[in-house]
Subunit: 436 residues, 2 copies
């Protein structure tokens, strides 16, 4: 937990849907918000550091609910390919060859830089060799729900799949309680790459350790067709038959849900994490977010890894989610701006189990906030802040980023890591990847 007092003033405050003050203030003590609202009504806060928004918009930091952060190494390595060729001829071989704990530490550091600079303060990161990534989060002070991957094939750091559960347990035990900003978790890759036995053991481990369990689910039409052929049921229905659906915390993608399955996910307490940038780039399809929300689902937003996106700018996902919702329904009123932004706030927070900690700027919440530069041409003039956040802004308008009361980006400069060095390390690895 961060020590000391912080006062952020000097600009409008949008603290979440319906919570706007033209002149706002956020006060935090030891990393926790003690006041958020009208600057004129803010109580005194002794010995506080000051962060001046300088006319910029103060708002909660964004939450990227699903990412494979270290995959920035493979950004743009292979695009515009059929999914099978992309995965089997490019990504899986590159992962097998290049992913180890040093790679995940080095590459996650660059991902952290990209995310903090573009306004993301919390990430749900799922990957192999997760201890390397954990070190990157620990060093930089970004908030992460970090899941060790589990799959029924030899994987980076887990050459013997029979050791997968043990590696997950070891990772969770190693990183539990190390930092209040790092929450270890488990990521079982998917129902088509993990047997029912593996999934059941992962669920048991989840309950034994009290951690969250995630999986990719219903990402592609061919996954659904294959599930129907193999199991006589859709991936969602099949997990439900196995009694496993209710033991999942969140399902990533959910592009291909059958009718009623959004409702079933809601009933089973499974959050959905939509990744519109990745799903569209891979030609997989699009999650029906308006229906999911109408059916009571918790829906968060993720960028997915940079190999399938190809950036980690969550503002792009917010805008794309809103546009795709309108395209799906033909109704421009679908997924309006404030609701779209909130997917990456309360929605993502709940998908990560952090709904009482992040996603809002209210007393008791963590002081995770960003300041958006409103003097950018693309944000001029300003009539309505959520509209700009959804339809006009990008992560490049982020000026300051605060996590747990610590200013990690100030005036667009990272205070928590050496960006040039982070990029140079990844370029060095990339030169080897390109060399084959």
């Amino acid at each position: 937990m961060s020590s000391g007092n912080l006062r952020v003033t000097g600009g409008p405050l949008w603290a979440g849907p319906g919570m706007f003050w033209p002149s706002g203030a956020v006060l935090a003590s030891d990393g926790v918000v003690v006041y958020a609202g009208d600057a004129a009504l803010a109580p005194p806060l002794p010995e506080a550091s000051e962060l001046d928004a300088d006319g910029g918009l103060i708002m909660p930091g964004l939450i990227n609910a699903h990412c494979h952060a270290a995959m920035v190494l493979f950004r743009g390595l292979a695009d515009d390919l059929p999914l099978d060729a992309w995965l089997n001829q490019h990504i899986f071989p590159a992962e097998a060859r290049w992913v180890d704990e040093r790679m995940t530490e080095v590459c996650t550091r660059l991902a952290v830089a990209e995310m903090l600079l573009s306004g993301t303060t919390t990430v749900g990161d799922s990957y192999f060799c997760a201890s390397g990534a954990a070190r990157a989060y620990e060093q930089t002070g970004m908030r992460a729900v970090l899941a060790q991957g589990l799959i029924d094939f030899p994987a980076p750091g887990v050459p013997d799949p029979a050791q997968g559960l043990a590696v997950c347990r070891e990772f969770v035990e190693r990183w539990s309680g190390v930092s209040p900003l790092i929450t270890p978790a488990i990521f079982a890759h998917s129902p088509y790459t993990c047997s029912p036995r593996t999934l059941g053991e992962a669920a048991a481990l989840r309950e034994d350790l009290g951690v969250r369990l995630y999986t990719h689910l219903a990402e592609t039409a061919s996954e659904v067709a294959q599930s129907a052929e193999t199991h006589g049921a859709s991936p969602v229905a099949w997990l439900d038959e196995l009694g496993l659906l209710q033991r999942l915390d969140a399902a990533v993608h959910c592009v291909w849900l059958a009718e009623g399955e959004a409702e079933l996910l809601a009933q089973r307490g499974v959050a959905v994490i939509a990744c519109p940038g990745s799903n569209s780039k891979l030609g997989s399809g699009w999650a029906d977010i308006p229906t999911m929300l109408a059916d009571g689902c918790v829906v968060g937003l993720g960028t997915d890894g940079a190999a399938s996106n190809n950036n980690l700018d969550l503002f792009g996902e917010i805008g794309l989610a809103a546009r795709l919702a309108k395209l799906r329904t033909g109704d421009p009123a679908s997924l309006p701006a404030e609701q779209a932004v909130d997917l990456a706030l309360a929605g993502s927070a709940a998908a990560l189990g952090l709904e009482e900690k992040v996603g809002r700027l209210e007393p008791g919440f963590a002081c995770d906030l960003i300041v958006m530069d409103l003097s950018a041409p693309r944000l001029t003039p300003l009539y309505d802040a959520p509209s700009h956040l959804t339809y006009a802004a990008s992560g490049n308008e982020v000026r300051h980023t605060v996590v747990d009361g610590q200013v990690l980006v100030k005036d667009r400069q990272l205070t928590c890591l050496d960006l040039d060095q982070a990029m140079a390390s990844v370029r060095e690895l990339a030169a080897r990847v390109a060399g084959g």
Copy 2:
């Protein structure tokens, strides 16, 4: 025409599809490219100004083929509304009240700033009170194909629709030959707001004056349904029946084409200008770009106005076009990166009739180029430039912008206008708009 010599070196050069040099140089004399290629093979160029790419990617400036630039005043004024309510209750009344030549001059200046800073060097701008916009282009040195609007209703600057043709003629004559960077044109709003007589007279004026004629076409499903009801034909078929299709130069939107109509447009020599950001935000649908290209259409890209987008960053349109193509076909190989970028280069250039002048960096083409900062985290590492341009970049990575051999943006700063003043003027107008 710009005088003097310019040498741009110090980074890789992507001069168009298939034209990449790891260390490139572009040499220009009096605003015209005289060499583009390998830096090591560049001829001497006496007394040249030097522009250092400092490791950034040198590439052709982007071409925004359809915009209503001055509408930046209405950016975010009204969103997430049904199209009718948006247009009739918000945008049309606001235009009637606030648009005049001073407004278009002031607001187009901000649009120019936004476009130059995000890498657009040429714009196809269609609006009313176009002389105001022309002054903004003349003052700043941005390249524009600028069309005066024509519609069968009272419009800003044209209270009597019977004067519409005369206003178009006057505008074209006033701005012909004033600047080699400004090409006057005519924009007949649409077949549902212009009678066949108006459209026919516009076509006659086009031929009389030797200028280009544009129109919105097949933007929404309701437009197509209404056309079927009124004329017994789709908008495209109806214009063809009237003999007007072949007298059009480009049709904007073309979201709802019947089978065979893309081919018909190609046969009639009508380019298509797709606006995926606007069409998706308004819930109108999406143009089928892969089919259009397969059918031989020229396809350019536009942002449309900022009231329906809501920014003028053409990189966003490139990425969205590529993603929507893959979603439509379910095939991630649809509209691959290099082809997507080229929509905003050769495609837009041809849609504006400038295919021999802009969209490529080759001897004889205008020296309209940008330098993209490759040291941004989101562009690191770099395996393939077009991939980054399509899937990872935004206009915020633009570092230098050159039009006609003149450096209009250097190190992210406008050299051709006072940005603070441009924003302040628009904010002042916006305060009055918001006041009602």
